[in-house]
């Protein structure tokens, strides 16, 4: 039963090889004079054949490179001895150039960070909290799977591990909930591959090093296409869940229940009661049945966290924005850098006017019932809320409210004091020395305030529990990724520095999850060494190989040949993407990039294609290769942990729609290059 499939694979491979060799021979025969350039092309086709035979690629490239480099030197009327010396020189210099490459150095660090984060073992919690948080969305489990995959794959970049882990966690959950096998498998495999594209990804570093494109720009450019792709996947799952509920049934009420801690229940909490009134009531002592006040304060602190954050950020940005000189640049930075982290507060970030709202609190009458406030100025209500506890704390706000960062103070003195000091101390006195805040602020503040007000209106105990779970799984990872990415993209740190700090972050994360031990570090270290050696030795090989290819003049021949075809820009792009897509079957992405990009990149100039844009297309394209049967790796990883009756064909069938979405995404990116180029142009032009 197994034989026929084996045959098919072998036939396919051998046919491809034979075609390549036949093509190369035909070209040699057709050429009027056989030049070195033709030898170069022969070398190229031979190398593909040799790689398909299965010998380690790095050494294939290296060996073939020196043989052909020797030919190239020897043919220039050079003695054999002299040619050997030249070849050796070329080789060692190329190898040394890879060793001293300051772009590739980020690879071991990102890989290391990935292994550490993977072993920090927060995926279980992440998936659970996301699936509860998204319970009301149609196809919630599918959406939660995709979000988990996207986030975890981005942080770790290890496709195999993400697909395997999600196969163990999400697949059973989805199947038990009655999801169709295809949809479940598709969501897991497609989601697991997102890490290839969404920065910080190793693929983009490798492309940047090969093509000489700034990794920083690549990261900035790949960010939105990556999010777009993830978004399209999610939209697809939601649409399917709406149209075919039998494929993705909604969660039953029992599965949506969030268990509340007993202490809270004793205070009178139930899943849909609003948090603030109950907690405050309990604090006042009315219903405080032997639940320690510190515990209640802790809960209150968690509940008020978004508000505190909002206050801190708005104060901070008020300072930055109203400072006289660097207004624009600075405000732009914060807007994107921090804004995206906390969507509810996002609107308000740039907008110091928060202060405006904050000062008013004194006027508040209706403190007790913050929720009923109509949602206008949420801060006021907060100010009021704190009053009871802050009475005991009674911290006279120090002089310059603005200069005193409320965050730390708040942490020390308890949540209530923060807002209180913030509220009382921000007065416009300072504003005299500063530029007045632009009117846009007030709008932003309003939006942020409204969002917060709605948040507190809806904040039930069940939601508070979910929020706490997210706080310990989703947000740390998100913040880590955005911090690493943000510092790179906004030019605060080089990719290498960010990667190193990210690896340190991985240590901290692992320690926070009690997973940091010698065994785990050892494993990560050794795996890092192996992965790095694999990628970088490939670079050593390909550096020697492409030097030989250039020496032989293969590049010129390719260029003449391609230009001779009189392609338009579109035709060229389509052709190159199709070639890369086809190569994605027999070869791995590393091989494709290091061997073939040096051939494609010099052609781009002739067609006026931006290498940065080309890189984004290539990254998207290579990601598709991970999902294209029959070699899609992610399918095999999933099959390895799936129940026996989930067949490989079902998994492939499930992957097809997602592959279709990828093609749509490539098309969208091509049609609207702005999706990728907008951010780099905004930041670096």
């Amino acid at each position: 039963m197994k034989l026929p499939t084996l045959r098919k694979e072998l036939w396919f491979g051998f046919t491809l090889m034979a075609l390549l060799i036949a093509g190369a021979l035909f070209m040699l025969a057709a050429a009027p004079v056989i030049t070195n350039g033709h030898l170069g092309l022969l070398m190229l086709s031979l190398v593909v054949v040799a790689i398909m035979l299965g010998f380690p690629t790095a050494f294939t490239l290296m060996g073939m490179g020196i043989v052909f480099a020797f030919f190239a030197y020897h043919s220039e009327k050079q003695s054999a001895g002299g040619a050997i010396t030249q070849t050796l020189d070329l080789m060692v210099q190329r190898a040394y150039a890879v060793m001293a490459n300051d772009v590739l150095i980020a690879i071991p660090l990102f890989v290391f960070m990935g292994y550490l984060v993977e072993r920090a073992n927060l995926i279980e919690k992440l998936f659970k909290s996301l699936h509860l948080a998204l319970a009301r969305v149609p196809g919630s489990l599918g959406v939660a799977t995709l979000v988990t995959c996207a986030l975890f794959a981005t942080a770790t970049g290890i496709v195999g591990a993400v697909v395997t882990l999600m196969g163990l966690l999400a697949l059973p959950a989805m199947l038990r909930a009655g999801y169709s096998v295809q949809l479940s498998a598709g969501a897991i495999t497609a989601g697991g591959c997102l890490g290839i594209l969404i920065p910080p990804s190793v693929l983009l570093i490798v492309y940047g090093a090969t093509a000489g494109v700034s990794v920083v720009q690549l990261y900035a450019g790949a960010f939105f296409p990556g999010l777009m792709l993830a978004g399209l996947y999610i939209v697809y799952v939601i649409v399917v869940a709406k149209l075919k509920p039998q494929w993705a049934p909604p969660l039953s009420a029992a599965e949506r229940i969030v268990p509340l801690p007993p202490q809270l229940e004793r205070v009178g909490a139930s899943a849909d009661r609003r948090v603030l009134p109950v907690l405050l009531g309990a604090l006042k002592g009315k219903r405080n049945h032997d639940v320690p006040t510190s515990y209640l304060l802790q809960q209150l602190f968690v509940a008020l966290m978004p508000l505190l954050l909002f206050v801190v950020v708005s104060l901070w940005s008020y300072q930055t924005v109203t400072r006289v000189e660097p207004v624009e640049a600075a405000s732009g930075l914060q807007q994107i850098g921090t804004g995206e982290r906390y969507s509810p507060a996002a609107g308000g970030l740039q907008e110091p006017p928060a202060e405006g709202g904050l000062q008013e609190p004194p006027a508040e009458g209706g403190l007790q019932e913050p929720a009923s406030e109509g949602g206008l100025q949420e801060p006021p209500s907060e100010g009021g809320l704190q009053e009871p506890p802050s009475g005991t704390l009674s911290e006279p706000p120090a002089g310059g409210g603005l200069s005193e960062p409320p965050g730390p103070a708040g942490v020390a003195a308890g949540p209530s004091a923060v807002a209180a000091s913030a509220a009382t101390s921000v007065p416009g006195a300072d504003a005299a020395t500063r530029q007045p805040a632009p009117p846009g602020f007030w709008i932003g503040l309003g939006a942020g305030a409204l969002a917060l007000a709605i948040y507190y209106l809806l904040l039930s105990f069940a939601r508070l529990e979910i929020f706490k779970m997210l706080l310990s799984s989703f947000f740390p990872l998100l913040i880590m990724i955005l911090a690493v990415l943000g510092s790179i993209v906004f030019g605060l740190a080089t990719p290498t520095e960010a990667a190193a700090v990210g690896a340190t972050g991985g240590f901290i994360l692992a320690a926070a999850y009690r997973q940091l031990n010698l065994k785990m570090v050892k494993e990560s270290v050794f795996l890092t060494a192996k992965t790095t050696a694999m990628v970088c030795w490939l670079f050593v090989g390909s550096a020697i190989f492409s030097a030989a290819f250039a020496l032989l003049g293969g590049q010129e021949l390719v260029e003449r040949w391609v230009l001779g075809m009189n392609l338009s820009k579109t035709e060229f792009l389509i052709m190159s993407q199709v070639i890369i897509f086809i190569l994605g079957w027999p070869l791995e992405w590393t091989e494709i990039i290091v061997i073939f990009m040096p051939i494609f990149i010099p052609l781009l100039d002739n067609f006026g294609v931006d290498p940065l844009f080309f890189g984004l297309l290539v990254a998207m394209n290579l990601q598709t290769a991970f999902l294209s049967p029959p070699v899609a790796m992610s399918a095999f990883y999933l099959k390895g942990v799936a129940p026996k009756h989930v067949t490989l064909n079902q998994i492939f069938a499930g992957m097809m729609p997602f592959m279709g979405i990828q093609v749509v995404a490539i098309f969208l990116l091509y049609q609207f290059p702005g999706i990728g180029l907008w951010l780099p142009q905004l930041l670096y032009k």
């Binding site: 694979e9 035979l53 060793m99 882990l165 190193a500 790095t532």
Partner: protein
């Protein structure tokens, strides 16, 4: 025979693993430097050179370790479907044709290259110079390690040709270790089997069990 092969494996592995710890050094060095530069405003010029040397040494010396664990990327579309004897003959030929000349040349050229650097006591071009020649000696070192490991691999091919099966290797950490991952997320084989049964239509469930 097998003992010797494994001993060489262990030697390469030990070497590779020893240098693998450089990634921790690298992480700490850069993190400290980031702190020192951006927070204390006290940058060190030599750190940039040092980090490149650490990275270069790390991956070069890990080459033999990776080879001993069969970890270098190969195009396995077809390779995986070959019988072991076919695999071994392809490998044997290509080790001799591509690997040996390449690595011998690299080791040889690297040795000359490093010695030239030593002769002039080459330093980095920097305000706080570091010596470059030890770094350059990493090339012949890594080459020699690889060569040794390559010879072992060639012997493995021959053994496989004779016996029709690949000689075993020692276990090492795997990127995707399914058992370990299962343990990590607390999934047991029994759970997967139970789930499998629920996938079958009710009629078949009996026989499936």
């Amino acid at each position: 025979m097998q003992q010797i092969l494994l001993a060489v494996d262990r030697f390469s592995t030990w070497f590779g693993k020893a240098f693998a710890w450089l990634v921790v050094v690298l992480t700490v060095l850069i993190s400290v430097e980031v702190f020192s530069r951006y927070v204390l405003n006290r940058p060190h010029a030599w750190v940039l050179d040092a980090q490149i040397m650490l990275y270069g040494t790390l991956f070069m010396t890990a080459g033999a370790y990776t080879l001993s664990k069969n970890g270098h990327v190969r195009g396995d579309v077809l390779y995986g479907f070959f019988r072991p004897r076919t695999q071994a003959s392809i490998d044997l030929v290509l080790y001799v044709v591509f690997f040996l000349p390449g690595i011998v040349a690299l080791t040889w050229a690297g040795w000359t290259y490093a010695n030239e650097s030593l002769a002039i006591r080459e330093q980095t071009f920097n305000a706080d110079p570091l010596p470059v020649y030890p770094f350059k000696f990493v090339i012949p070192l890594a080459g020699a390690l690889l060569l040794l490991q390559g010879v072992v691999e060639i012997v493995r091919c021959v053994v496989c040709l004779r016996e029709g099966d690949w000689p075993s290797r020692e276990e090492d950490v795997e990127e995707v270790d399914v058992e370990q991952l299962k343990e990590m997320v607390h999934v047991k084989d029994a759970d997967i089997e139970a789930l499998d049964k629920s996938l079958l239509p009710p009629a078949q469930r009996q026989e499936g069990a």
